[in-house]
Amino acid sequence: MVDVAKLEPGTVYVTYIAATPEQVWQALTDPAFSKRYFFGFPVEVEQRAGGTFKLLYPDGRVHARGKVIEWSPPRRLSCTWLIEGMGEFDELPECIVTYDIEPSGDAVRVTMTESHSWDIPDAILAGGRSGWQAVMSNLKSLLETGKTLTLDNQGPPPGMAEAVKRAVAEKPWLKR
């Protein structure tokens, strides 16, 4: 398990959604809901700290697996993520994905923070970042309009696979 206190935010995405915190919480934790805005990926979260977290591909294979660090409905969900089934990507250290849900004006502010325990190169962060931009845009559309956008998973952007290969060879996270 990573030392949570040592993590640094790599990617932060903030969006304001016309919804209630409870609706956002349900969207983030219910597999039927996540499938609609998260590239068809069902999320499976055990409803307690220490429980397991899984994000599955539409065909049921595991995309990311981890543990629930914080389960505080409807305000904060924090889980560790380890990538699976993507070759060298699987050897990257786990990161932490936290959703903070706060009432703000007439809306809800949703902040997604992806934190890392090592000095992760921007070329690797870029892959997750472009995914989050699409996922969070889609989450907002779904909650506000009942419809999602037609966004597909673009896969790793150019340069990401090379950056992962280099990082896995050098393992900079071990040098602390």
């Binding site: 703000s104 007439d106 559309s141 037609t150």
Partner: protein, 148 residues
């Protein structure tokens, strides 16, 4: 070292033309920009200012590039708070692209000099403004209302 900057990407169910209109039309801007609107003719080289109805000026600058409905570049300086203005000029680039049947809007705001206050301010502001813009185009109403 890269310059201090903030980047925000949002995907919006609309057309590039409607998004361009929303980014440049005064009365539409007021709805999602907390009452503020741009005063400019949107021609390269022309002055640009972000104002409120009561005459207060939030930001000023000039249009560097305007390529409707694809790209808008504004040289931008804060006029609201002296400590933010003191950090000097920034450059704001808005890019509109079709993407998988919707429109991808990228707003990149880069400070020309050094400092943290300007980028901190726009990092708080853009997510609110662009969330509102997306809501307005997709639902006809904004998500977040506040008076400045």
């Amino acid at each position: 070292m890269s310059k201090p900057s903030f980047v925000y990407v949002t995907y919006i169910r609309t057309t590039q033309e409607k998004l361009w209109a929303a980014l440049t039309d005064k009365s539409t801007m007021k709805k999602y920009w907390f009452g503020a609107f741009a005063e400019t003719d949107w021609k390269p080289g022309s002055p640009w200012a972000l104002k409120f109805d009561d005459g207060r000026v939030a930001d000023s600058g000039k249009i560097l590039e305007a390529d409707p409905p694809n790209r808008l570049v504004i040289r931008w300086q804060n006029e609201w708070k002296p400590e933010i203005k003191a950090e000097g000029w920034s450059c704001c680039t808005m890019t509109l692209e079709p993407h998988q049947g919707v429109i991808k809007l990228t707003v990149q705001h880069e400070l020309e000099g050094e400092g943290t206050k300007f980028i901190e301010a726009v990092s708080g502001g853009w997510p609110k403004i662009l969330s509102n813009l997306k809501s307005l185009l997709e639902t006809g109403a904004v998500a977040y209302e506040t008076k400045v």
